[in-house]
Subunit: 332 residues, 2 copies
């Protein structure tokens, strides 16, 4: 690889001048700048990342902490982050956080402290000691999704749960089952969506029934399994699944049970997952791509690379497709 000295020699200037010409920092005459640029282009010179980051303290690299790389939501967000960072010439290094505490410990104690990143975007939910280590880095951090103690980009998931439920209530449903996830604490996304469900039901004066609240672990299979059980023993007219993947599972279970959707059963999900379109699933879209873009913009702003976007809660939107309709009127 050609270094800055060679460029300096070719352009007949000092390395200081080369650096200034190429970085745009500091005053320099237009002619000199051009001469240097030409020489650099000729030689195919690109400044070494290690050397310039050692000299400046900046890496132009962002760390992204992700729990599961091969999940649609996360890969969509990462893709969006990448697309926003690229124009600002920032790279992404990916840190896959497993459940393995020791491994995570090493990530925070070692990897992140090597100074390889200028800032961090956390898609993973972090433990409080991890948050402490992260903040000790003294670098900008942006979280996507609830992450106590960290500046986070949030969707109002209580409102999301309410909106989904109100859609069903508005269609005339009263026997509504809820499929979510019970473990995790109160600030979790699943818990928030459930709270919205409860609020909407209570507001509508519809009594909650325990046997219609289920745990589907946020996968297609989980949704299907739970719905299979449910439909074998109860006949709700509608199901609100707290994720599109679970909702697709419900659709499959309904089909197995020979129930028509939405004739016999309405189903609504949450996410705006790519599968929701395929299955004609009504959903609350939470625009994960936009979440990634916003996270990247926020971080760039904190890094002084862009102007700060106005802080705002993340948007969501009801997308009505063919999986929801008014309940069949009872035989009269």
């Amino acid at each position: 690889m050609v270094g800055i000295d060679e460029v300096a020699r070719h352009a007949g200037v000092s390395t200081a001048t080369v650096s200034r010409a190429l970085s745009g920092r500091g005053r320099i005459s237009p002619q000199t700048r051009e001469r240097v640029r030409a020489a650099a282009a000729d030689l195919g010179y690109v400044a070494s990342a290690a050397a310039s980051s050692l000299a400046t303290g900046r890496t132009r690299n962002v760390g992204v902490l992700v729990p599961l790389l091969d999940r649609w939501f996360y890969s969509t967000v990462i893709s969006a982050i990448s697309s926003r960072l690229l124009p600002h010439d920032h790279d992404i290094t990916l840190y896959n956080l497993t459940e393995d505490r020791a491994q995570r410990q090493r990530l925070f104690a070692q990897s992140l402290r090597r100074g390889r990143v200028d800032g961090v975007i956390a898609l993973s939910r972090l433990e409080s000691d991890e948050v402490a280590e992260l903040l000790a880095l003294d670098k900008p951090v942006v979280a996507v999704g609830p992450n106590p103690l960290l500046p986070a980009l949030l969707v109002d998931d209580v409102a999301v749960g309410r909106a989904a439920t109100q859609h069903l209530l508005g269609l005339g449903h009263r026997d509504i089952a809820y499929i979510g996830q019970s473990r995790g604490d109160e600030s979790d996304v699943p818990a928030q969506r459930h709270r919205g469900f409860v609020q909407a039901m209570e507001d509508a004066g519809v009594p909650l029934r325990d046997e219609l609240t289920l745990d589907g672990d946020f996968t297609i299979e989980g949704g299907r399994r739970v719905a299979r059980d449910l439909l074998a023993r109860a006949r709700p007219t509608a199901v609100f699944a707290a994720s599109d993947e679970m909702a697709v599972g419900v659709l499959l279970a309904a089909q197995e049970a020979e129930l028509r959707v939405p004739g016999d059963l309405s189903v609504i999900g949450v996410d705006g997952h790519e599968l929701s379109g395929v299955f004609g699933l009504t959903t609350i879209d939470q625009f994960p791509h936009r979440q990634g873009e916003r996270a990247a913009e926020l971080l760039l702003a904190e890094l002084g690379e862009a102007v700060a976007a106005p802080p705002a809660s993340l948007p969501f939107e009801l997308v009505v497709r063919r999986s929801t309709a008014a309940p069949a009127s009872p035989a009269r």
Copy 2:
């Protein structure tokens, strides 16, 4: 961040000794090593990536070139790469290659030449000028999937196509439709799978019928659209879709057409996509997770971080589920 000087002072040694004690390179007395380690641990010292990579020329970082981050196959492979690299203390920086030629150009001409990576894993198909720039880096490169001119990890996709077709032929099918993708050159995965299909049909002496060879663009929607058309005008007893996503689309189209699977129509896909299990789809699993692991291992070997795995073609395997069966015997 605390630097090496501080550790040296605390341990009462020179920075050279600290470096040796921590890196394990060079001879050092056990006592000194321990003293240094203790001091480093106390102070929470971690060597700066920029400084040590400037000094050694090694970054302990691997670049991964990916065409589409939010596609199951790629995110699965990346996840596997990450899991293999982590134990060797190597990070991943992600380069998302879009279709935008100018952007790609900048990636190869600038980003990759900054010296931020020790090697590259290419999941994207590269143009020949891009390959040239990549090789000019003079760093280890491993490609996953066909990539002319690059050392590549390959599944024998002709054999895959043959295996899928032979499964259907073996069940007694003769009217077999093929859904793939026609654009792209001969070394492409789609073209290879198609060749396998053709070979198996010819070997079995079953004439090929043009009207049963279709283009489904490798998405669920594409597979569905094409299968809808197909089933409206022809009645193959089986469909071989060159990807699981297209095969799922076929399943959905069959359902719309009120055809039973496998009673009226057998369907086989390729990939081992997570959806194949959900839909009971017979498929040829190509173990993408293993592909990522192998790619990482190969690269680590070239970087001198591990012993070379024996080079071998990547495995695949027929997974029979409930979407394939013998054709219904014609009414007698």
